[in-house]
């Protein structure tokens, strides 16, 4: 859904300024999409299960708990009213209680989120910093052996089951070679030395000068982040190659050659600066895609983030927790799409200011 938010409107409504209509339309689109997300999660929680109450409280609940939940979920009301209550509840931040942790799902998610954010951010950095140069190289050397090798590296990244690669990675680098720390985010001995301010352990430990803890966090995050980074690298390098090929075939590249601009500058400044505009969308989408990859990776590495929370809840059919997590990830997805559109607008002068005088 990239590119759908900002680009459709033109100043054709007369009286009010364009930005007003753009803004209104943007907000309306976001609202409709979020409502749609809620409709899907509502459908999953209230319509699909044979007994939605059982899905929330579990089959060992007493009759009184069951009845209480039946009323609380509004199951005695018609479906549309149930949906209305559901939306009202979710929008007020109430995602129900997890029956695994016995805490509000909202709080659980807030606790798990920084771990996923940290992992995904380090991964996307790896994916971008390696993927873009590989893609550029591939485009410049298009058709050569180098291009083929980069392509195969990418295809392997697409094809390998990440949970399996994670297991093998743990086997080799942790169990056999002991180069890295094993599952988890941080060893128990450092766990309580670091005060959580941002929740991002790399930043927290560095700010508090806990360099031993910092090193420990690095050695924990290296493998899962490299694996997820590889996964996003595959996509980023392929798209970079494709965008760069398009740009390198443009007339302005010939102009630059005529001007005698050195080849490295033509590639890294002229062409890449133009390819960067669509690449931003790709990177934002991969970042969102990492949330998906993180479900499996976090399970393998016992990484206490959203993914692990989601799978743990799945094992015991804790519906409130599962749907809360799903909803949060959906909202992050929308936010990232929105962000990529905004960045697109910032990077492309053609969209940025329509001064156009003729």
């Amino acid at each position: 859904m990239a590119g759908t938010f900002l680009q459709q409107t033109e100043g054709r409504y007369g009286a009010l300024p364009t930005w007003f209509w753009k803004g209104t339309k943007l907000i309306a689109t976001i609202a409709v999409t979020i409502l749609g997300l809620l409709l899907i999660t509502f459908f999953i929680s209230h319509v699909i299960p044979v007994d939605p109450v059982l899905a929330v409280v579990g089959d060992r609940a007493s009759q009184s708990t069951y009845d209480k939940m039946f009323i609380e979920m509004g199951l005695d009301k018609p479906l549309w009213q149930q949906f209305f209550f559901y939306v009202e509840k979710v929008l007020s931040g109430n995602l129900g209680n997890s029956f695994l942790t016995k805490k509000p799902v909202f709080d659980d998610l807030a606790r798990a989120f920084p771990a996923t954010l940290e992992l995904a951010t380090v991964s996307i950095l790896i994916g971008t910093l390696v993927g873009i140069p590989l893609g550029v190289l591939s485009a410049v050397k298009s058709g050569t052996l180098t291009d083929q090798i980069v392509r195969v590296i990418g295809l392997i990244g697409y094809s390998v089951p990440i949970f399996w690669l994670g297991l093998l990675g743990l086997l080799v680098f942790y169990a056999k070679l002991s180069w890295i720390s094993g599952p988890g985010r941080i060893d128990i001995e450092f766990e309580y030395n670091v005060t959580r301010t941002t929740g991002l352990l790399l930043i927290d430990s560095a700010m508090q000068g806990q360099w031993d803890a910092f090193r420990n966090v690095v050695s924990h995050i290296t493998l899962p982040a490299s694996l997820l980074g590889y996964y996003s690298l595959a996509y980023i390098s392929r798209m970079t190659r494709s965008f760069m090929q398009t740009e390198l075939a443009q007339e302005y590249i010939i102009t630059a050659r005529v001007k005698g601009v050195p080849e490295w500058r033509i590639i890294w400044v002229h062409a890449l600066r133009n390819a960067a505009v669509p690449l931003v969308t790709v990177i934002a989408l991969s970042y969102a895609g990492l949330l998906e990859g993180s479900v499996l990776t976090e399970t393998v590495f016992a990484w206490p983030g959203l993914g692990l929370y989601l799978t743990n809840s799945l094992q015991v059919a804790d519906m409130n927790a599962v749907l809360g997590g799903t909803l949060l990830i959906g909202v992050i997805f929308i936010a990232l799409n929105l962000l990529s559109d905004l960045l697109y607008t910032l990077l492309d002068p053609r969209v940025r200011r329509r001064v156009g005088q003729r």
């Binding site: 010939i254 005529v258 001007k259 005698g260 492309d348 002068p349 053609r350 003729r358």
Partner: protein, 285 residues
Amino acid sequence: MNPDRLKNAGSKALLTVDDLRIAFPSRHGPVEVVRGVSFALGRERLGIVGESGSGKSQTGRAILGLTPRPGRATARTLDFDGIDLRHATPAAWRSLRGIRISMIMQDPKFSLNPVMTIGRQLIEAARRTSSRAESKDRAMAMLEAVQIHDPYRVFGAYPHELSGGMGQRAMIAMMLITEPDLLIADEPTSALDVTVQIEVLRILDRLVTDRGMGLIFISHDLRLVSSFCDRVLVMYAGRVVEEVKAKDLIRAKHPYTQGLFKCLPLIDGDRAPLPTLQRDADWAL
């Protein structure tokens, strides 16, 4: 103008092209789009006319060593001011392109980098021969020289913010900022509105005259070329079919040239039916 850069100004040709051939591979073997073009150029204005596909643009690009891959350009002689272009190294090309030879391209909508301001693109060209400090002044001066009245605005503008005529002026400024000895103009006005064409041509005309540089003017427009250039090469299917002084064009001998000339509309007197060009397969041989 830097007359000292020219070893044999006036006495010897600036550019000598002998038997230039450009071939592209295809499924049925190589296809030659330029088949043995030869000419010599001094500090004069040479027009190359021909229809699209006649090889005129490829000839221009080959002089700059910019034949697109997988095409290959070969020649018996390709000599620019004593430099053998056939064996020029990448470093040699860089010292020529933009500094001694440059090229104005057809459509500023595509030939200017859309995400760089005009100013940055001008300075990038100017930096080839000037210091960082001088470059900006040169860029401003050059924008004024192409008769842009508000150079400050244009300097900070992105290409899409300029009209076609403005964009092409900026292009001319960019290509002349280093005062090259040879300028190739590849259909410099074809993408512009008719009214703007004349203005842009006038600017180009004055700058080329003032700086005394050699010019290769590539166009499909016979009348334009004949009014603008000293000498005209007529190309057809990859060959030069006729070379003629512009003022003698009316006495051209080759039937293709005559045909082209006859098809031009006249201001006085109407032509009915409109003449069309009758082609002869022999011309392509």
